[in-house]
């Protein structure tokens, strides 16, 4: 049945609400004015210029990018073998570990951030690279494990068995056959882990310090205290990264599927 006009109108209102903030941010980032005024009094790229010449924010951007790359790499390096084991092997405690590995997603990030602060501060690891990498890995790893478990599960078992019968040891078969077939999933998982870390705000708020901060935290603090279009330009930088990653993931595995089945 074709949707009626009531449904179309209501759905459009829903989409408007969903997309309005991002669109408004996009327009205001090009504002020539001094405040978050909409519509902007004029258009310019002055706030982007201000953003790129702001040393503190650029350092935070670099930190966030490096952090996200490290976190994505670690999540893949640890998550891929774990996902393979969960999808393909039988061993004692498998189901328990599988459940535990996605459990951090069930915990509110505020509570996880607090717990990490309490654990890392006494060890002098708060506001350090190892501390932040570990903290972000807790949210990235579950995504990596979940996506890769699905990806490995989708590789037909008999393809792997065929490799064995042709003389490949289980290890070589996993490396030469199963992993390459699951490669799009791994790429999607890596992209998503990168993004999860790059956008992570709440946990970071507990763990950053004057010497080490991330872009979302800087943006949060900026938005807390000031209301000029610089923060919109900053938001656009984050949205642009997100958009690239979303399109990449959508191409590779379908975004809605990757986000899970909740």
């Amino acid at each position: 049945m074709r949707p009626g006009w009531v449904l179309r109108l209501a759905a459009m209102a829903g989409y408007a609400l969903l997309l309005a903030p991002a669109l408004v941010v996009a327009v205001i980032s090009f504002s020539a004015g001094d405040f978050l005024t909409f519509p902007p009094p004029g258009l310019s790229t002055r706030w982007y210029a201000a953003l790129f010449s702001n040393g503190e924010l650029m350092t935070a951007l670099r930190n966030s990018a490096v952090l996200a790359l490290l976190v994505a790499s670690i999540a893949l390096l640890a998550g891929i073998p774990a996902a393979y084991a969960i999808a393909r092997l039988r061993f004692p405690g498998r189901d328990t570990i599988a459940t535990l590995l996605v459990a951090p997603l069930l915990l509110p990030s505020l509570v996880l951030g607090l717990a990490l602060l309490l654990a890392l501060q006494p060890l002098k690891l708060a506001a350090t690279w190892p501390g932040l990498v570990l903290a972000h890995s807790m949210v990235a790893l579950p995504f990596a494990v979940r996506i890769m478990t699905t990806a490995f599960g989708a590789v037909p078992r008999d393809v792997e068995e065929a490799a064995w019968t042709l003389g490949a040891t289980p290890f070589r078969a996993a490396l030469r056959v199963t992993l390459p077939i699951a490669a799009p999933g791994a790429l999607a998982a890596g992209a998503l882990c990168f993004l999860v870390s790059f956008d992570e705000t709440v946990i970071s708020l507990f763990l950053v310090g004057p010497r080490l901060s991330t872009l979302p935290v800087e943006m949060f603090r900026y938005a807390e205290t000031r209301t000029d279009p610089l923060v919109a330009a900053l938001a656009m930088a984050l949205i642009a990264v997100a958009l690239v990653v979303v399109l990449l993931v959508e191409r590779l595995v379908g975004f809605t599927r990757a986000m899970g089945r909740e």
């Binding site: 393809v159 068995e161 065929a162 042709l166 003389g167």
Partner: protein, 355 residues
């Protein structure tokens, strides 16, 4: 049968029970296969034929029993050390590799030098007639072509044993007969000792040197296609392979079984008691008035079915309903429904099993 009669493959009491199931999937399967021969494991789905094949390949671990290949006990070897070429039902081609790379994979695992690898891949591709498709990925190949790549991949490693799991089931009905004959010809040319799983009796009879008919995890009969078809050893084999009229009866004495009011002569019959009598339609002929046979039944044609090359007559007789199947144009093929008929068949074609 190939001349080398020494057994190349030997299964001893192979047994596999899956956790949580009441009956073993494979229950004490023992058989021997000479070098170069093709064995068909034939049976309905769930009879344990694929599990047996997987145990031979090492993909399934038996709970009991041994697998011996060329005198070597391979039961405890993992699949990658067994040197068996397997063609999977789904073909299981590596989707990210070209046809040539698929075929080269097994050689690569064996550390075959590149130059030799290339020539052997070319050889295998030529063998299955796919020389010009070497650079294609599996998804760019038709079903039949994929099947040949799978076969070439399995043969390229010069396996001690070639294992085929329902290799024709994924093909169009039209293609099947041609591919069937090709596989058989190829197998004979290469001389590969082969085990072949199928639920299709025509495939099994047409291709195999030996047929093992399986049911509920056991081998019901192991024999040549002719033996299995003409002299089924058990009631199950008689039912599963080919069609037959099934008549209830009672063994009256040596070689005599009573069906309804008639006594039929049978070459072999169990000692005594209630029995079931199997008579295959192609053994039954309408007789000319002066002709004789071991068994003769007077009856009436109930229905005549014409299928082109064959005519089948369903007849009511004092022994029960019996079908006769004969080539179109043969004597009696023109009989119409309602006509009186005199049916004859040999004593050795009457199979009697205890009911």
């Amino acid at each position: 049968m190939p001349p080398d009669a020494m057994s190349h493959l030997r299964l001893d009491g192979l047994t596999r029970r899956f956790p949580g199931t009441a009956h073993p999937a494979v229950d004490g399967v023992s058989l021997e296969l000479p070098r170069g021969a093709l064995l068909a494991l034939l049976g309905p789905s769930g009879c344990g034929k694929t599990t047996t094949l997987r145990m031979i390949a090492g993909l399934e671990t038996p709970d009991a029993g041994r697998v011996t290949v060329a005198g070597r006990d391979v039961t405890d070897l993992p699949p990658h050390r067994r040197n068996m070429g397997v063609v999977f039902q789904s073909y299981a081609l590596f989707p990210h590799m070209t046809a040539a790379a698929n075929i080269a994979f097994g050689l690569e695992m064996r550390g075959t030098p590149r130059a030799e690898r290339e020539s052997r891949v070319a050889e295998a591709l030529a063998l299955v007639g796919l020389g010009d498709l070497a650079a294609r990925k599996p998804r760019q190949l038709s079903g039949g072509q994929q099947q040949r790549v799978a076969l070439a991949r399995a043969l390229a490693i010069q396996p001690d044993l070639l294992l085929l799991d329902e290799p024709l089931s994924a093909l169009d009905a039209k293609l099947r007969e041609g591919v069937r004959d090709e596989i058989r010809a190829l197998q004979q040319r290469v001389g590969a000792t082969t085990v072949f799983v199928t639920h299709d009796q025509t495939e099994a009879l047409a291709m195999a040197d030996l047929v093992a008919v399986m049911n509920e995890g056991r081998v019901e009969q192991l024999g040549t296609p002719e033996e299995v078809f003409e002299r089924p050893a058990t009631r199950f084999v008689a039912t599963f392979v080919g069609r037959a009229a099934r008549l209830p009866g009672r063994v009256d004495g040596p070689g005599v079984v009573r069906c309804g009011e008639v006594a039929l002569r049978a070459a072999e019959a169990p000692g005594s008691g209630a029995a079931e009598v199997f008579i295959r339609p192609h053994h039954v002929r309408p007789l000319a008035p002066d002709a004789t046979a071991d068994n003769i039944l007077e009856g009436r044609v109930l229905r005549r079915t014409y299928t082109g090359d064959l005519v089948s007559l369903e007849c009511e007789t004092p022994a029960g309903r019996i079908q006769a199947e004969l080539p179109g144009g043969a004597p009696g093929a023109a009989l119409a429904a309602g006509a009186a008929v005199r049916l004859g068949f040999a004593a050795e074609d009457v199979r009697v099993f205890p009911a």
